[in-house]
Amino acid sequence: MMKYYRPETVKKTLKLLGSQTEVCTPLYFPPRAKHLSQWQGDALIDLSNLGLDTIKEKSKEIAVGSMVSFETLAKSEIIHNRWDGVLSEAAHLSATGAMRNLSTVGGVLLNPNFPAEVILVFLALDAVVILLDENGKEVRIPIEAFLNDGKPTLERGMLIKEVILPIRKNIHCALERVSRSKSDGSIVSVVVKGELTQKTAHNVRIAVFGANPAPKRCHSAESYLSDKPFTYKLAESIEEKIQDETEAVGDYRGSAEYREAMAGVLTKRALISLKKMMKA
């Protein structure tokens, strides 16, 4: 018989998660909901009393708690006013309103593969995942390492505390996607971030979903763009570069060939949007 706990403190939670006698599963709801029977383990841990549902703005970073819902991400002014609203947009289109109220940052971190838009934004923003180990000590893991090519794991006894999103000046982001209909799941999505000066984009990040087995950054394309004058021609030339870094897996939503092509097209578009922001 499965048990259910709603601990009042992080310490108690960590103790439960580290139990050697029962496998305790933290209830991080992902945006793609699980049937209740799919939750594994001897006990479910409800994390709603731990105060992990806050968004804190500090001088150089924003800390988004692991229990922050997608609806909060979508509507929060702190989030909406940053990064050209891309994180809010990503959260909004990831699920219906009812599921946004239930889905959490922790949920998507542990289930990053579909829908992936919020994960793409985290990748593009060089997010850092803060875990708490069994002793309550913080462990910082860069998002790419945490995601582990689409197979993230949370070690026994550990808890996702929050995601840290660095704040820098002149950061701009763009999100592009293609799907069968406006609210259908993406076939391919791209998030691009750049720190923009008058003529150059620095620290460009390109995160792509749908053109590889898991959401990932396109490092070679990022290097290709860095420290060059950021022109429309440069943006348009990215299509081929992106396709060199894709290894799409075709499925019923889209063939590998289409996915790879769209990764290029959408990256180009996102970069052109960034370019227009530079002009602005």
Binding site: R6, G97, V178
Partner: protein, 944 residues
């Protein structure tokens, strides 16, 4: 564990386990408004408010409620009065089947509690949480905005949007008192209050749960099945397999006796023919025990090669899907042909040879699922007389009763089938899908049994729309006259024949009856494959046939350099003309058909005006320099759909007067949420000149209501309606006779008005006085009548669909901008319910055109058996939509008050209109559905 929370204002304490969903807990506590629909959080029909936030209760463990405040629709009910949100939903006609209504009401409350001035986008986002298959979302969106106005304390004018969509041609149309009135649906209040009115909303003492074990293989023999371990499990009461169930060959489609052939099904077989096919059925004390029992059933499989492609299935040497010796009337089992249809007239070869232009194209349509938000569910029990009672979510209660009788060895007289409110059908429930097994489990155990499909079962093991390959060839003269049309198709009927023959018939009819030609030929192979079984789906073959013909007609016009509308109007059938192909194509004996009531010209004019058709000629319309990757297009289609099945569909009605002058109206007709109970009451009210509220409708109970074929073939308004009209007229005669006796006046001088009978001198008696007099006072008799109706006609309904799209030429994504539908269904009985039908049908059709598709792997496993993966359109992605009903003169002479049908025609024209719009935008034609981005991208690539 014990949990404490506040439910609808009351503090409660109850037991719940983490493996119980909050949904099941709330239903156990009597909150039947919270619906079982998907169990994956995607449809929102289970949504509740927890501390003011809308949450999907189906994926939440029950203990999450601890310490929180939960509100369901039951908590909004204010005695007899309606909460302003509920009131708005009723007024706008936003409630059809009502299954999603509580979710929508709560989503609205969550929005308006925070913001009393929502924008339309806010409303779309709110309702985007709730999937609806009936309404198309526009009436619910109107309800949200209207509710906001109520809550702001504004004076809200009557809702007339639907009435304003009914247009009249210049000819005079008769006036009515109850007809053509947007009367509130008779069942709207109970649905908006979340009353327990659906099949699953009862708990019976000792009720067991039934569950189906399904096949993991697409094609296999069951060499042996060992149920001993399952049967030995405590709490398991019965296990059914082919070993202990009678083998009786039948067809499960809910159709008139005798069901069209082939008959190729048995309750439980020793062979399976698709992934999801029946293997065994179990009855146990709980759902968990059913699952455990199923896991203990040991099957010794012989896996057979499977075939999924229609053309491969017809080849020599293909795996034979129906090799059993007792299947009946399979056309050619060795080539997996369930049926073959041939029909033709004229000299096709000669006419093609004489044509100045011949255009040929092959079209492919996909398999899609009806996705009624209420999955299939049946509850059966033995009553106090040991008669079998089957309470089921069905469109065809009388067919269910007749079809299962020999399967379960119970005579028809000992079976009662009751259809309560049902949460959508769309054809999926024109079927005997679970009733036989549920009944058998009740008979074996002596106990009530509840048998249902979860959403995955619903996708895999229920029914869907037939996927087809259709080759059209059209020959025309250079002046634009069609000389010849050839239609050659292969229909994939999946593992069983079911509706295959009749749907294919309709595909052919709809493909070949809109336009005239000197010669026509239709050939169809209906082919078995090892795929889940298609069946009836709103439109019933029409969408496939009309997609093909309207696309090729458009292409012919383009090649002739003729305006597509002018070309169509040059060749479309006209009033007084015979539809020649109908002499050859029919379910049973062909019934010649002629066009009578029409309205197409007015439909075309209005559609052109509403979409601003002439923009097509402008280069500026097609492309915008500020959006270089976007091309725009406008397309259209003409639809023609039948009304009922001539000479076959029959409906009946019974009425009686009550002491207070009200009437009971009992009809076999099946209200799926379409509003048939309401419009039938309107018809009776019109004849008797009484308010609709004085008619108490009871429908779809085989013990108490007269026969009706059920809800399909767009027959209810036309056939059941005429039965009601006839019945009411008999009642009227009796009422006038009684009034004549009371008033001592000649009956022929009397007339009905405002619930009274008047004599020319002004003397009158009320309907109540008539009732009391006839029941109690003198020459006592029950004023009552029966009537039936069947029609030799199948008067076609004409309409048009116009679509405007934007196409992203880099990605291929098609965005629908606007849809305009115009239809001439004769007299519209209830504009609000009618517009709801049009909008809902178009929405389903838009999904068919753009995104819906059942996809399989190479083992025949369905890859997308859940919402989300199988995307149906949400409120927040709907294009602008305008729907117009055009009434011409008196409407259809053979229909009640001039009415025909409009239930299915909205599903017919969207796909070709979208396809033609895409062709207008990009210059290439997409000849397969759905028109998803990759297809368009490839078409554009192939141009360069």
């Amino acid at each position: 564990m014990e949990i404490d929370f506040t439910l609808n204002g009351k503090e409660i304490s109850c037991e719940a386990e983490p493996t119980d969903t909050l949904l099941d807990l709330l239903r156990y506590r009597g909150c039947y408004s919270v619906k079982r629909a998907c169990y994956t959080g995607e449809c929102g029909n289970c949504a509740v408010l927890m501390d003011g936030r809308l949450l999907p209760s189906c994926v939440m463990p029950a203990p999450q409620a601890q310490g929180h405040t939960i509100l369901t629709v039951e908590g909004l009910n204010e005695g007899k009065d309606l909460n302003p949100i509920q009131k708005a939903f009723v007024e706008t006609g936003a409630i059809q089947c009502g299954f999603c209504t509580p979710g929508m009401v709560l989503a609205t409350k969550a929005l308006l509690d925070k913001n009393l001035y929502p924008s339309l986008d806010d409303a779309k986002d709110a309702l985007g949480s709730i999937l609806c298959r009936c309404t198309g979302y526009y009436q619910p969106l109107d309800a949200v905005m209207r509710a906001a106005a109520y809550l702001r304390g504004e004076t809200v004018p009557p809702y007339t949007k639907a009435d304003e969509s009914v247009l009249f041609t210049n000819e005079s149309c008769p006036d009515f008192s109850a007809i053509r009135q947007s009367v509130q649906k008779v069942d709207a209040v109970k649905m908006v209050k979340g009353k327990p009115v659906y099949t699953d909303d009862i708990e019976l003492p000792g009720m067991l749960h039934g569950m189906l074990m399904t096949s993991p293989y697409a094609h296999a023999r069951i060499k042996n099945i060992d149920t001993s371990a399952a049967e030995a499990l405590p709490g398991v009461h019965a296990v059914l397999t082919y070993k202990n169930v009678k083998r009786y060959v039948y067809g499960s489609g809910g159709q008139t006796y005798p069901n069209p052939k082939p008959w190729d099904q048995v309750c439980l077989d020793n062979k399976v023919r698709f992934v999801g096919d029946r293997v065994a059925a179990v009855a146990a004390e709980s759902v968990e025990l059913c699952k455990k029992a199923i896991s203990l059933i040991k099957v010794d499989w012989e896996i057979l090669p499977a075939v999924f492609d229609m053309e491969e299935a017809m080849k020599d040497g293909a795996p034979i899907i129906h090799d059993e010796p007792d299947c009946i009337d399979v056309a050619d089992a060795s080539h997996n042909k369930a049926y073959v249809i041939d029909a033709n007239y004229g000299d096709l070869e000669k006419d093609f040879a004489e044509s100045d232009l011949v255009v040929e194209r092959v079209f492919h349509t996909q398999q899609v699922q009806q996705t009624p938000l209420e999955p299939h569910i049946v509850i059966s029990w033995l009553d106090e007389n040991d008669r079998l009672v089957i309470r089921t979510s069905t469109q065809v209660p009388f067919h269910v009763r007749r079809i299962i009788s020999p399967l379960i060895d119970v005579p028809v007289q000992n079976i009662r089938v009751i259809k309560p409110r049902i949460g959508g059908g769309f054809g999926a429930k024109q079927e005997v899908l679970l009733e036989d097994l549920c009944a058998l489990l009740t008979l074996r155990t002596g106990r009530p049994v509840r048998f249902y499909f979860d959403r995955q079962d619903e996708f895999r093991s229920s029914r869907s729309r037939h996927p087809d390959t259709i080759r059209f060839k059209v020959g025309v003269t250079k002046s634009g006259r069609i000389k010849a049309i050839e239609m050659d198709m292969i229909e994939n009927t999946g593992a069983y024949g079911v509706h295959g023959f009749t749907v294919c018939n309709v595909t052919g009819t709809r493909g070949l009856s809109t336009y005239r030609a000197d010669s026509m030929r239709f050939h169809a192979d209906i082919v078995y494959t090892n795929l889940p079984v298609p069946g009836a789906f709103r439109g019933y073959g029409g969408p496939q046939g009309i997609y093909g013909i309207e696309c090729i007609i458009d292409e012919v016009a383009e090649k002739l350099k003729m305006d597509p509308i002018k070309f169509r109007m040059k060749n479309v059938v006209r009033p007084g003309e015979k539809i020649k192909i109908m002499d050859k194509l029919a379910e049973f004996d062909p019934v010649p058909q002629k066009v009578n009531s029409y309205g197409l010209d007015a439909c075309i004019r209005k559609g052109m005006e509403a979409i601003d058709w002439n923009r097509r000629k402008s280069k500026q319309f097609h492309s915008d320099p500020s959006k270089p990757n976007i091309c725009r297009g406008i397309g259209m289609s003409i639809m023609m759909h039948g009304t009922a099945i001539a000479g076959i569909d029959m409906g009946a009605a019974a009425m009686k007067i009550n002491d207070d002058g009200s009437f009971n109206l009992n009809v076999g007709a099946t209200d799926l949420g379409t509003g048939s109970d309401t419009i039938l009451a309107q018809m009776a009210a019109e004849v008797l000149k009484i308010p609709v509220s004085k008619i108490v409708v009871y429908s779809s109970d085989t013990d108490f209501t007269p026969f009706d074929v059920g809800a399909y073939a767009s027959s209810t308004t036309y056939i059941s309606g005429m039965a009601v009209k006839k019945c009411a007229e008999k009642i009227k005669e009796q009422v006038l006779e009684r009034a004549a006796l009371m008033l001592q006046q000649p009956k022929d001088d009397l007339y009905l008005k405002d619930e009274k009978v008047y004599a020319p001198n002004g003397d009158h008696v009320t309907m109540e006085e008539i009732a009391l007099h006839s029941l109690h006072r003198k020459d006592q008799r029950q004023i009552a009548a029966y009537a039936s109706h069947v029609s030799p006609e199948c008067p076609p309904v004409f309409g048009t669909e116009f679509a405007e799209v934007e196409v992203d030429i880099e990605t291929g994504q098609v965005t629908p901008i606007k849809l305009v539908m115009t239809v001439s269904p004769g007299t519209v009985i209830n504009p609000t319910t009618a517009i709801g039908q049009l909008e809902g049908g178009q929405t389903t059709a838009l999904g068919y055109a753009l995104c819906e598709e059942m996809c399989y792997d190479n083992q025949g496993n369905l890859l997308n058996p859940r919402f989300g993966d199988y995307h149906i359109l949400q409120a927040d992605e709907m294009p602008l939509m305008e729907s117009y009903i055009i009434q011409e003169g008196d409407g259809e002479k053979t229909g009640p008050f001039g009415a025909k049908a409009l239930a299915e025609i909205p599903t017919d024209g969207v796909a070709p209109a979208i396809a033609n719009a895409v062709a207008n935008a990009i210059g290439s034609r997409i000849d397969s559905l759905p028109i998803y981005p990759e297809k368009v991208w490839r078409a554009i690539k192939s141009q360069h």
